[in-house]
């Protein structure tokens, strides 16, 4: 192998390690839902290449109001689905859409886009 090949190979393997770390090992920060006057927990979620925040801590057994706003023209995120709670909503671009759920039992409830490429989760405690 030439020196160039060795250098390129090492750089390539570093890129692989970087991909593993950046996409798989990185854990998103958690957001805690804000509780409004009526005991309703509220969270604003921005949809832009994913969900921001993607990990939301809520209290189990209490209603949660998720307000999704899709801030991108890509139709990838045009639907948000919460399979565990049987909810699906269409998100027009730049228009907040409210999805109301009540996670009865503690646990993780995933929410994804219609094609399951964007992922986020509600962590009910």
């Amino acid at each position: 192998m030439t020196t160039t090949q060795v250098v390129v190979t090492i750089v390539g393997l570093c890129v692989v390690a970087g991909i593993v770390w950046y996409f798989w090992l990185w854990t998103p920060g958690q957001a805690v839902a804000r509780t409004a006057a009526g005991g309703v927990q509220e969270v604003e979620v921005t949809v832009r290449g994913g969900y921001e925040p993607a990990s939301i801590v809520v209290e189990a057994g209490k209603p949660v109001v998720l307000r999704f706003t899709r801030r991108e023209p890509s139709t990838c995120g045009e639907e948000v689905v919460i399979p565990g709670l049987g909810k699906r909503a269409y998100l027009p671009e730049n228009q907040p859409v409210t999805v109301e759920v009540t996670p009865e039992r503690p646990g993780e409830y995933e929410f994804t886009c219609g094609m399951n490429m964007y992922r986020g989760k509600l962590i009910a405690r």
Partner: protein, 788 residues
């Protein structure tokens, strides 16, 4: 728009499902509105204050999710007043009308489609010249001739392809950047990386060829442009196809009536359907749609309820019968009292249930989801490793080969096909079922229903109609059958006993005119005694005959035969002499036998369960062709019988292969709820006023057993479709990626061109959607074909 619980309904009591009026709110009415617009819900106090300030309003409640309930004096407050107050507080208030947002979604899709097509045409227009110049490079003779202009051609291609990447493929780069920010990677990431790398490398080859090893100056501008064009075209077509996948739901929404003719005092007023209030009297003429749910007040007609129930035979409606909104009135005019409006109608419930079901996942999709979340980064890693392999061990020019293969890997991988495979089929399948009056609760119920080994049918109301009907008229010699029935019906006219009603209805169906009796006495536990046209008539059991001094000996043979057939014999005596026997039975529904045959043909064992005695149960089972019967079962014991059937796992027959056999239970949603919940799939038979039945995985809106057959057939078809999709997507990716990486090169010398790879990728996700859409044309063979 009004949901009334008020003075209007006083006097009619609580009949027809109208909630009783509350004491504090007599004379008021409740309007339900929807708050739309952008202010956060935390600020609803402003809205509450504004609405509370409207004269006549007594109470305002804003519910999470934007529903607003306003209680106000019945006649003083108009919608416009409330709307104006809402506007003042920064909220747009609307009447809760059409139950969904499909229109808006459709418009959004159309806009996006046009945008994508414009991007495609631009990319295609640029693509043709760029592709031509690159082809020149491939033909040695032409390349020689074009050599002096090599650099100029390359520069032109670089400049031309830049706007294609920036505009036509702009959303890939934006999407990739957005995803990257969230530590995500998706299809955008792959396409952006692939086309971006191709363009950058080619640009370096044009501008600074000295940086690259000799001979590695191959340009890929055509790849960048054509792959962008193909993938954008694929996305546009996919968007179109996805619109068709939700056609079933759109159809359900579109069948709604737009206006209603409401009777106000002496006049008839045409109003938008949103303004019909509970308690309103609505007139429906032949050919018109029933606007909302209600109960017939006056008039008779046949109503086609097929849009909601899937039942093609129109249902006869008489005063007291429920009518369903969106059904079509066929023969006569009638008026009805509205009992459910807006979001509460059966149709709205159906739409909600279907949409909810479409958002769930069958278990089969879970593994794929787990795979999908690792897929894109894995492809990126494969691309890097492919690059290294070609760069370190490949033939010269190694760098060109390394770039080409890495780009091919990136653009051939199709995460969308994997991600779409399950949900898109489920969406079509669940919608298809709903068109036939079969509402499937979720993906799990659908998957389980496709593998049922046993179906347990509750007898009353499921196999049978659930109400007694006159089946036999057996006069003794010397009596005319018509006369016997006429007299018996006259005697029974004032009785409210179901058996008596069956006789009266039987006489009416046979066009016999039963007069009112002069005297009438109901003898509990025996029957009735009456005087009809001066003749004493007894209708009842043997005890009644003996009590009236009529020895029933001559009638006993006929009575015993009827009892053997599972019918209830009614003995009739006229003028103090035995006259004949009438047979009354809970008759089987017309299509029960066909449904049982169809289930058996699918290899499903059919079992009947009933609280009736063995003899009656056997008689019904014989009529419909069921061999196994559990009779004399107390309501609470049904659960145990279902459990026992589940435990009867015979591995050879169990298609589930998990030991226990999957058992479906069909019954009504109330008495049979525990058994429905115990079963692997509960099928609730709904007669059409309430469809969201908690314990059931499947609701049969039409109430016909054919629905069970249909549910199983459509589930099997959907599961088959999902498997095809998953198999296709899986095989495509597992074969496509290694071939793209050059796995065939060492042996066969075959290397995939990146443009072919991009085309394959665009085609593969389109194939998945198209295959799912094939389900729309699914025709049940057994549920239809075996109809008597």
């Amino acid at each position: 728009m009004n949901t009334t619980t008020d003075a209007r309904t006083e006097g009619t009591g609580t009949a027809g499902g109208i909630p009783p009026p509350c004491e504090a709110c007599a004379g008021t009415t409740e309007s339900v509105l929807e708050a739309q617009g952008t202010p956060p819900l935390a600020g609803t106090e402003a809205l509450e204050r504004a609405l509370g300030a409207v004269p006549g309003v007594t109470d305002v409640r804003v519910e999470p999710g934007g529903r607003v309930r306003v209680r106000h004096a019945a006649d003083k407050v108009q919608f416009a007043d409330l709307k104006a107050a809402g506007d003042g507080a920064g909220y747009h208030l609307a009447r809760p009308g059409r139950p969904d947002d499909v229109d808006e979604q459709e418009r959004g899709r159309e806009r996006e489609y046009r945008r994508l097509m414009a991007k495609f045409w631009f990319a295609a227009a640029v693509g043709v010249p760029v592709l031509t110049t690159m082809l020149i490079e491939l033909v040695p003779a032409l390349r020689e001739a074009a050599m002096p202009w090599h650099r100029a051609i390359g520069l032109a291609a670089a400049v031309l392809s830049l706007p294609v990447l920036a505009w036509s493929g702009g959303h890939f780069f934006a999407g990739a950047r957005n995803a990257l920010r969230n530590h995500n990677a998706n299809m955008d990431t792959l396409i952006a990386l692939g086309t971006g790398a191709a363009w950058l490398y080619s640009t370096v080859a044009v501008l600074a060829p000295d940086l690259l090893p000799a001979g590695a100056g191959r340009m890929f501008f055509d790849v960048a442009v054509v792959v962008t064009a193909l993938v954008v075209l694929g996305q546009a077509l996919e968007l179109r196809a996805k619109g068709r996948s939700s056609a079933a739901i759109r159809k359900l929404i579109e069948v709604q009536a737009r206006t209603a003719r409401v009777v106000r005092g002496d006049t008839e007023v045409d109003v938008p359907v949103e303004e019909v209030a509970v308690g309103d009297t609505v007139l429906v003429r032949p050919g018109e749609k029933v606007p909302v749910d209600g109960v017939v007040l006056d008039g008779r007609s046949a109503v086609d309820e097929s849009v909601v129930t899937g039942e093609s035979v129109p249902a006869d409606k008489a005063p007291g019968d429920p009518v369903i909104g969106a059904s079509v009135n066929r023969t006569g005019a009638f008026t009805f009292r509205a009992t459910k409006v807006g979001r509460d109608t059966v149709l709205a419930q159906v739409v909600r249930m279907v949409r909810q079901a479409q958002s769930t996942k069958p278990p089969i999709g879970r593994l794929v989801d787990a795979v999908a979340s690792y897929f894109v980064p894995a492809v990126m890693i494969v691309a890097v490793l492919t690059f290294l392999a070609w760069f370190d061990f490949g033939p010269e020019p190694r760098l060109s080969y390394a770039v080409a293969t890495a780009v091919t890997v990136l653009v051939i991988a199709c995460p969308c096909a994997l991600g779409l495979a399950t949900p898109i089929s489920l969406m079509v399948g669940v919608g298809k079922a709903a068109e036939h009056g079969v509402l499937i609760r979720d993906g799990e119920a659908l998957e389980t229903a496709s593998r049922l080994a046993v179906v347990v049918l509750d007898k009353t109301g499921t196999v049978t109609k659930g109400r007694p009907e006159l089946t036999d008229v057996l006069p003794l010699t010397g009596f005319d059958a018509g006369e016997l029935l006429r007299l018996a019906a006259a005697a029974d006219r004032r009785s409210e006993h179901p058996l008596a009603q069956a006789v009266v209805n039987g006489a009416r169906d046979r066009d016999l005119d039963a007069p009112d009796p002069e005297t009438f006495e109901a003898v509990p536990g025996h029957g009735v005694e009456a005087m009809v046209g001066g003749r004493p008539v007894l209708v009842g059991n043997a005890k009644l005959m003996r009590r009236g001094g009529v020895p029933p000996t001559e009638l006993e043979a006929s009575a015993a035969r009827l009892a053997d057939e599972g019918k209830t014999p009614l003995l009739v005596a006229v003028d103090g002499r035995p006259a004949g026997v009438l047979g009354v039975a809970d008759t089987v529904k017309e299509d029960s036998a066909a449904a049982v045959r169809a289930l058996k043909a699918m290899g499903v064992e059919v079992v009947m369960i009933t609280g009736d005695n063995e003899r009656t149960a056997r008689a019904v089972a014989r009529q419909v062709g069921i061999d196994r019967v559990f009779a004399d079962v107390l309501p609470g014991e049904k659960v145990r019988h279902v459990e026992r059937l589940q435990a009867e796992g015979r591995p050879g027959r169990a298609r589930g292969g998990r030991g226990a056999r999957l058992v479906g239970m069909v019954g009504d949603g109330i008495n049979d709820a525990p058994a429905l919940a115990q079963a692997d799939v509960g099928f609730a038979v709904s007669t059409g006023t309430d469809v969201a039945i908690e314990a059931a995985g499947v609701t049969l809106v039409g109430g016909s057993l054919r629905g069970v057959v249909y549910a199983i057939e459509v589930s099997q078809a959907t599961l088959r479709n999902i498997r095809q999709n998953l198999f296709g997507a899986f095989v495509y990716n597992t074969l496509g990626i290694p071939i793209a990486a050059g796995a065939l090169y060492p042996v066969l010398g075959i290397l995939l061109h990146p443009i072919i790879a991009g085309g394959a990728m665009a085609a593969s996700s389109l194939t998945v959607v198209t295959n799912a859409n094939r389900l729309r044309f699914f025709e049940p063979k057994l549920a239809r074909g075996e109809r008597p």
